[in-house]
């Protein structure tokens, strides 16, 4: 059974179709990158997974159960979510931010504290230096690390990333991409990752799904993607070639 399955998922706002009849399965343990330009529907597809929005038509299955049939709170707590601006609570320390979902889930305080320490170590932020800080006392890269730690806190099987590294400088971004790959090796989670950066997609994906104006234009491994003749795929691959030429 796939971890996530889109079955004819369509999302409309008024008479505007944002996502059109998406059929796509995401297997456990894979990193599916949703690639596309702004407005291609990739973030919409992502938000359908944890029930932030509901499909206008069709359905999205998580663990074999339609998102509409899930208890919304339970569904979301079992899925980690990382967004571009980190969305950390500015009035919570790093520690409380990371421990939030476990606390809501009723874990005892010591277990939460232990988990927070473990996660801070995992995202390379020594707890002694970082646990008590507020988000504004962190750099952009550090905030995203905390964001990742927070998403991992209750040990979800599925992680959603909405352009998590999009606002970072290129050096920090590379750093976090490497960290992402390392964490994937260690944790073997199912990840859905939204980006418009084709280089990032090629680096991180086990499979790429290319969206174009709300339609799925291509789905396959990065090497299949590189060989694709689809016009929109070529447009993104041109970006890669251009980058290579500069080198």
């Amino acid at each position: 059974m796939p971890a996530v399955e889109f079955r004819g998922a369509t999302f409309r706002i008024g008479d505007r179709t944002i996502l059109n009849n998406l059929n796509l399965s995401i297997e456990a343990g894979e990193t599916l990158v949703l690639l596309g330009r702004s407005g291609s529907g990739k973030t919409t597809a992502l938000r359908l997974v944890n029930g932030m929005i509901m499909p206008s038509q069709g359905e999205v299955l998580v663990d074999g159960k339609a998102t509409g049939a899930w208890d919304r709170v339970k569904l979301r707590r079992s899925i980690g979510y990382v967004i571009q601006e980190s969305g950390l609570f500015p009035h919570f320390t790093v520690e409380r931010n990371i421990g939030l979902v476990p606390s809501l889930e009723g874990w005892p305080a010591e277990r939460v504290a232990q988990r927070v320490n473990e996660l801070l170590e995992r995202v390379s932020l020594p707890p002694r230096d970082f646990a008590k800080r507020l988000p504004r006392e962190l750099s952009g890269g550090q905030r995203q690390r905390v964001g990742v730690a927070r998403a991992l806190a209750a040990d979800p099987k599925i992680l959603l990333f909405d352009e998590p590294f999009g606002a970072l400088d290129p050096v920090t971004r590379l750093d976090l991409q490497r960290e992402f790959l390392r964490l994937r090796q260690e944790l073997a989670k199912t990840s859905v990752f939204v980006t418009h950066d084709v280089q990032e997609a090629m680096k991180l994906a086990t499979r790429i799904a290319l969206l174009h104006e709300g339609n799925l234009a291509f789905a396959g491994t990065p090497s299949e993607f590189a060989a694709s003749t689809h016009q929109e795929a070529r447009a993104f691959l041109d970006v890669l070639e251009e980058a290579a030429r500069v080198k």
């Binding site: 944890n50 932030m52 919304r72 709170v73 339970k74 569904l75 979301r76 707590r77 899925i79 979510y81 967004i83 571009q84 601006e85 980190s86 969305g87 950390l88 609570f89 500015p90 009035h91 939030l100 979902v101 809501l104 507020l134 504004r136 927070r150 959603l160």
Partner: protein, 209 residues
């Protein structure tokens, strides 16, 4: 002789100050109990929000002396005395508290609210753990503005027999007695400053994150 006059003034002053404080505290308490929950409820709904803010706005445009006058003939809520004054003061205090509650809630970063929803927090948890704490300094600032204005407006309450420091002022005006006017105006001004300073301090502490 002069000592006796001063002693009487002081005794009466303390009593009037007490009445004044009761007027202000009751009005602010009632206004908060109405405006804060109302603000929380309407913040997310543009139409009801504008309606509520519009009504509160109208309340505040009525000249204060006229409002006290209007309320007197109204059965149950009107009449001479304290409760009529409190109702008028509540009407004035609503707008700043309501407006700041709405502003505070709307000012919560969309990304923060989004991630709260995505983490599976319930509506009540988001309100209690995210929106209220983040909006608290703004709400408190509305409370501060309302309190300072109410301290001033409450002096007019004496005109409808509600007591308070306004008694000195009205009597002073009637008898062209500067000392009496000052005996009412000075404590009222100091009270306003103290409220401003005290609540401002709390506000800064709340906004320290």
């Amino acid at each position: 002789m002069l000592n006796d006059v001063l002693q009487d003034l002081l005794d009466e002053g303390l009593q009037l100050l007490g009445e004044h404080l009761v007027l202000v505290f009751s009005a602010i308490l009632i206004a908060s109990a109405i405006a804060i929950p109302l603000g929380l409820a309407v913040a997310g709904h543009p139409r009801t929000r504008n309606l509520a803010l519009g009504l509160a706005n109208i309340g505040q445009t009525i000249p204060s002396l006229a409002l006290f006058g209007f309320l007197i003939p109204i059965p149950f809520i009107g009449g001479i005395g304290e409760h009529t004054a409190i109702i008028a003061l509540v009407i004035y205090a609503l707008l700043p508290i309501l407006r700041n509650t709405v502003t505070g809630i709307l000012g919560v970063d969309a990304a923060v609210r989004d991630s709260a929803v995505a983490m599976g927090m319930t509506r009540m948890q988001i309100l209690r753990m995210v929106e209220l704490p983040l909006a608290a300094p703004t709400i408190l600032s509305g409370l501060r503005i309302a309190t300072v204005t109410t301290v001033g407006t409450a002096t007019i309450a004496a005109a409808i027999g509600a007591g308070g420091l306004g008694v000195f002022i009205f009597r002073g005006i009637a008898s062209v007695d500067k000392l009496q006017i000052l005996a009412g105006a000075l404590p009222a001004a100091l009270l306003a400053l103290a409220a401003d300073g005290g609540l401002g301090w709390v506000e800064r502490r709340l906004g320290r994150w």
